[in-house]
């Protein structure tokens, strides 16, 4: 069902537009957003402009080289002579991809389960939410190790494992929001005007929970990135020569005393990203807070 745009009439300001105005007044959030976009763009396109590939070994210098502009190693190399900047950017691609994809998986499952459980209620609610409770009990690390043992180390498996854990909280949040919305009069009004359950969930419930969900998404992405680096740190993450920020930090930590640069570079990228996501989430929460309306 499409919205009717009434042409030729002055446009009103939606709550989303209001929120956007408030967000753009928040300096920390705007700066964070810009930095995040820059990091994402550099991670995506940067590697094409570098003289070295992320898995290419500089056979003349199989050692941790300090930054050397003449050779094109702008941030030096790691212990086996691979360009650190190229690897960090490549790691950024992987980490951000994992963060976004796993969060999207969590988002889709979480919203579906949460809104249905909350809106339909009764037995459906009981069944879905008890399943969520059971899933919470499963120790995450063991789950991942078991999956890895069964299916081998695998990039896709990691999304599934992380997504499978992250959607639980999302589902609870969406369910809670749905319960508060369910008894609002506009839901009754929608039912009286002939809306089916699916129709009401899609048209009224989900648009109204999105505000809260978006805030939670910006806080979930860094959590997922940390999860991924934790798995990589344990050696369960992505496989060499592919890399991620977690893998790089792991390698750098081993070299900490001899070669702190190999730790500092990826750690700086990751820390800045996480900070920015948190600031952005904070800003979004202030901007979307319905209480000041």
């Amino acid at each position: 069902m499409s919205d009717v745009i009434f042409e030729g009439q002055p446009a009103g300001r939606s709550l989303w537009q209001d929120a956007w105005h408030r967000l753009s007044a928040n300096k920390a959030a705007v700066v964070s957003l810009v930095i995040l976009i820059v990091i994402a763009l550099v991670s995506i396109f940067g590697p094409y402009f570098l003289p070295w590939r992320y898995d290419e070994i500089d056979w003349n210098h199989v050692e941790a080289l300090p930054p050397n502009f003449a050779l094109g190693h702008y941030l030096g190399t790691d212990t086996v002579g691979r360009d650190l900047l190229a690897r960090t950017l490549m790691g950024g691609r992987v980490s951000l991809t994992v963060g976004l994809l796993a969060t999207s998986v969590a988002l889709i499952i979480g919203i579906t389960v949460g809104s249905i459980a909350g809106f339909v209620g009764a037995r459906v609610d009981q069944a879905l939410m008890r399943f969520v409770d059971i899933m919470y009990v499963v120790p995450f690390t063991f789950l991942v190790i078991i999956l890895m043992v069964m299916f081998g180390r695998n990039f896709v498996l990691m999304f599934i494992a992380i997504g499978a854990v992250e959607w639980l909280t999302m589902a609870r949040i969406v369910r809670g929001q749905t319960l508060t919305l369910k008894h609002k009069e506009f839901i009754d009004a929608a039912r009286a005007s002939g809306g089916s359950t699916t129709n009401i969930i899609l048209r009224h419930i989900i648009p109204n929970v999105l505000g809260v969900v978006i805030v939670y998404v910006t806080l979930t992405i860094p959590q997922v990135i940390l999860f991924e680096s934790f798995l990589s740190f344990l050696g369960l993450g992505v496989q060499e020569p592919m890399t991620s920020w977690g893998v790089l930090i792991n390698e750098g930590a081993a070299e900490l005393e001899i070669n702190p640069r190999t730790l500092i570079v990826p750690a700086a990228f990751m820390t800045i990203t996480l900070f920015c996501f948190n600031f952005l989430g904070d800003g979004l929460r202030d901007a979307l807070d319905p209480n000041d309306r």
Binding site: G12, E185, A189, H204
Partner: protein
Amino acid sequence: MSETLLRVRDLKVHFPVRIGGVFAGRYQMLKAVDGVSFDLKAGETLGIVGESGCGKSTLGRAVLRLLPTTAGHVVWLGADMTELDGAALKARRENMQIVFQDPLASLDPRMTAGNIIAEPLHNYHPELGKAEIAARVSEMMTQVGLQPSMLNRYPHEFSGGQCQRIGIARAMILKPKLIVCDEPVSALDVSIRAQVVNLLMDLQKAFGLSMLFISHDLAVVRHISHRVLVLYLGRMMELSGRESLYRAPRHPYTQALISAVPIPDPDKERAKPKVLLSGDLPSPLTPPSGCVFRTRCRKATEICARVAPAAELIDADHTVWCHHWREESP
């Protein structure tokens, strides 16, 4: 004004309320509406009055089947709504709509006024083109006193009175035969209240609407209704034509309600005899035996505690549920 559109017979809406129990849960029935019957003719307005918590809103929603009913029948245009489900229920509902108490809460904050008003059209007439929908919405907005240039605005950009007009436009867009008005003016300023009430009366004249007008404001009900139903704790107390009820209320509860309506003249207000109610509304979970009103009734006697009063016909258009209605009030 002859054809009976809506026939409500012995309608009961009971809610299970959890009163304890660790695992199994012990439940008790809250009788929000208990044995209400009335008829509504085409073009007629039935006012439903009573204190807070007497089941007015529950009754209104049960008629639309927005709430499950426990027993009784709601016969709408010849079909029993309590037996319908799914598509059949949806089809029947096209002719009955509702206007809510809280103007802002009854509008989805993320939708524009135009889309809110168009929603029933989307649901019932998906075959309509965009231009047709836009035209009908604009026409309806003009009819309820909103400028069509406000189509793309969002609910928070409107005043309370304007929001209520949007709610009325949404209810009217399908050209229904019955509108349930659930305290439509209680949340509005007095100045706006008169405008909205008059708007509803104009629409009633223009479209030949029937209305269930739920309110606790007796002055408004007197202005808009043809007949009035007085509820107390979900039971009927008195059902009567407007003039007869306001001139000569028979039930002690109605007498108390009417004497509490202020007269806008301080001298007359001071001079008029007042019938005051003592005490609070008893818990609907444990209603008094016999006549539910007896705990606060000045005429209550021993029989009131034993026997629930039956309907007593005073004249063709005036029914009262009281053992002592014949005794003159002091």
